[in-house]
C-alpha cells in the first residue's frame, strides 16, 4: 500500500503560496457554502468556482481523477436510484422503467455538490504538505494530543501496511487460500491480532526512544504557523466568504427561481 500525498505540494502556484491558515479557513468556508446548496441551478456556480481554483493550483488532472475514482463509484451506487424512484414527472419511459425529472435534478444536485466539495478538499491537501496542514490545525486549536497521534500514525502507516503485505505473502506461500470456513476466519483473525501485537510492541520501543529524546518533559507543541499571512491571503479568504454568503443569500431570498 503506497499512499502518496505530498507529490505536488511543492509546486509554485497562487494556491501553493496562499498562507496555510488562511487557505484552510477560506477553502473550509467554501466547502460549507457548497454543502449548503439546495437548488440545482446553483450547482454550475459551484463547479465554475471549483474549476477556476483547480486551474489556478496547477495540479494535473490525473491527480483529481485518481482521487475521484473510488468515491465516484460509491456515490454513483448511492444516487443511481434517484431518477428511477424519486418524483412524479416522467421524462422518459420504457416498460416499467421511468426516468423522473425530480430524481434527475436531485441526482445532479448531489453529484455537483460532491464533485465541488471533494475537489476543493483535494486542492487543500494537494497544495499543502501534511505536516504543515496539521501544524495549521493546531494553530486553530486542534488539541496537540490528536495532532501528535495523527503524525505518528502517518509516520508508521506505511511500515504497518508493508508488514501486512509480508504477512499475506507468507500465508500465500504456505498455501493459504481464504474461504468462508472457520479455519480461514481464525487464521485471518490471527493475522489481524499479530499486526496489533507487533504494532503495540513497536510502540513501546518508539515511546522509550522518544522519552530519551526528551518527549514528555515540559513538552509543548511549537507552532510555526502564526497570523493570517499578507493582505492578499486575507483578501482571498474574503473572496471565499463572499462566494459562500452569495450562495446562501441566493437561497434564503429565493432569487434563483425553482425548476
Amino acid at each position: 500500500m503506497r499512499l502518496t500525498l505530498d507529490a505536488y505540494a511543492t509546486l509554485q502556484s497562487p494556491l501553493h503560496r496562499w498562507w496555510p491558515r488562511a487557505k484552510l479557513v477560506g477553502l473550509g468556508l467554501l466547502m460549507l457554502g457548497f454543502a449548503s446548496v439546495q437548488q440545482v441551478q446553483l450547482v454550475p456556480i459551484c463547479l465554475l468556482v471549483t474549476a477556476v481554483l483547480y486551474l489556478l493550483s496547477g495540479l494535473p488532472l490525473s491527480f483529481l481523477r485518481s482521487r475521484l475514482r473510488y468515491p465516484g463509484f460509491f456515490l454513483l451506487g448511492m444516487v443511481i436510484a434517484l431518477p428511477l424512484f424519486s418524483g412524479g414527472t416522467i421524462l422518459w419511459q420504457w416498460g416499467p422503467f421511468a426516468i423522473r425529472q425530480e430524481g434527475l435534478l436531485a441526482m445532479g444536485l448531489i453529484t455537483g455538490r460532491f464533485l465541488s466539495i471533494v475537489t476543493i478538499g483535494m486542492l487543500l491537501l494537494g497544495t499543502t504538505p501534511l505536516l504543515i496542514l496539521i501544524d495549521t490545525l493546531v494553530s486553530l486549536k486542534l488539541p496537540p494530543l490528536i495532532a501528535e497521534m495523527a503524525l505518528l500514525a502517518y509516520r508508521y502507516l506505511f511500515d504497518i501496511a508493508d508488514q501486512l503485505a509480508h504477512l499475506r505473502q507468507a500465508m500465500r506461500l504456505r498455501g493459504f487460500h481464504p474461504k468462508g470456513d472457520r479455519q480461514s476466519w481464525q487464521q485471518l483473525a490471527a493475522v489481524t491480532g499479530t499486526l496489533l501485537v507487533r504494532s503495540y510492541e513497536r510502540s513501546e520501543r518508539v515511546y522509550k526512544a522518544m522519552r530519551l529524546r526528551g518527549y514528555g518533559y515540559g513538552h509543548s507543541w511549537t507552532n510555526q504557523i502564526q497570523g493570517w499571512g499578507q493582505a492578499t491571503d486575507v483578501a482571498a479568504v474574503g473572496l471565499c466568504v463572499t462566494i459562500t454568503l452569495v450562495l446562501i443569500s441566493l437561497q434564503i431570498w429565493q432569487i434563483v427561481p425553482g425548476p
Binding site: 497521534m149 505518528l152 500514525a153 501485537v197
Partner: protein
C-alpha cells in the same frame, strides 16, 4: 458505511462536527484525568495506524467478501483513545482513499466512534462473565463487536432517512431501507465473531493489550532502560 461529501445538508454536517467535537473533548478530559497522555500516545497512534491497515483485510463470506470496521475492537483495545483514533483514521481515509469526506468527517466519526465507546463499555462486562478466560473474553468481545456494528448501522440508516429527497417513492424508500438493514444483519454477526476471535487471540498472546490504555499510571516514575536496538529505532 461512510457518508460522502455533498450527500447531507450543511446543518447536519455542522451538527456532526459539533457533537463529535463535544465527544472528543469528553474523551480528552477522561484521558487526562486517568492516565499520562504522553505515555499512552505512541501506543494509541500505532494501534490507530494498525487498525486503519487491518480494516483493508477482506473477510470471505461466500459468495462475497467484506471489510470490517472494528469499532467494538477499537473500543476494547484503546478505550477512550478509540474515538480519537477513529477521527484520525477517518481523516486518513478521506485523504488517501476518498472514502467518506471532509465536510462529513464529524458525522462519520459519530457513526463509527460512538459505537466504539459503547463497545469499550460493553467489553468491561468481562468482569462479570464466567471464570474461563476464553469464554469471558470471547463473549465480551462478541458483544462489543456485534453491538458496536449494530449501533453503527442504526446511525448510518437513520442519517440516510434524514437525507432521502422528499419526492422519493415512500414504498420504495421503505423497501430500500429495510433491504439495507437486513443486508447488514450478517455483517453484525461476522463483526461480532471476528472481534471475539481477535480478542481471544490477544488474550492468549498479549493480554496487556486488552486492559485499555486509559488506566491510572505513574509514568514519570518509570525507569527507562533502553537497549541498543531501541536507541536506533
Amino acid at each position: 458505511m461512510h457518508i460522502p461529501d455533498g450527500f447531507v445538508p450543511p446543518q447536519l454536517c455542522i451538527a456532526g462536527y459539533g457533537i463529535s467535537g463535544f465527544v472528543t473533548w469528553q474523551c480528552l478530559r477522561r484521558i487526562n484525568r486517568h492516565s499520562d497522555p504522553s505515555a499512552q500516545m505512541p501506543k494509541a497512534a500505532m494501534l490507530a495506524a494498525a487498525f486503519f491497515v487491518a480494516s483493508s483485510i477482506q473477510i470471505p463470506l461466500p459468495p462475497a467478501s467484506l471489510h470490517l470496521i472494528f469499532s467494538g475492537l477499537l473500543g476494547a483495545v484503546l478505550g477512550y483513545y478509540a474515538f480519537l483514533a477513529i477521527l484520525i483514521g477517518l481523516f486518513f481515509q478521506a485523504l488517501f482513499l476518498g472514502h467518506g469526506g471532509f465536510s462529513t468527517l464529524g458525522l462519520n466519526a459519530i457513526i463509527i466512534g460512538v459505537p466504539a465507546l459503547v463497545g469499550h463499555a460493553i467489553f468491561q462486562l468481562k468482569r462479570w462473565l464466567p471464570r474461563s478466560p476464553a469464554l469471558r473474553y470471547g463473549i465480551s468481545g462478541f458483544l462489543a463487536g456485534a453491538v458496536g456494528m449494530t449501533l453503527a448501522v442504526t446511525f448510518f440508516i437513520s442519517l440516510l432517512i434524514f437525507t432521502v429527497p422528499t419526492g422519493f417513492d415512500v414504498a420504495t424508500e421503505r423497501a430500500a431501507l429495510l433491504t439495507l438493514g437486513i443486508a447488514h444483519g450478517p455483517l453484525i454477526i461476522v463483526e461480532g465473531i471476528f472481534t471475539a476471535l481477535i480478542v481471544t487471540f490477544l488474550q492468549r498472546t498479549k493480554p496487556e493489550l486488552l486492559t485499555g490504555l486509559v488506566q491510572p499510571t505513574n509514568a514519570h516514575s518509570q525507569t527507562v532502560q533502553p537497549s541498543g536496538e531501541q536507541l536506533c529505532d
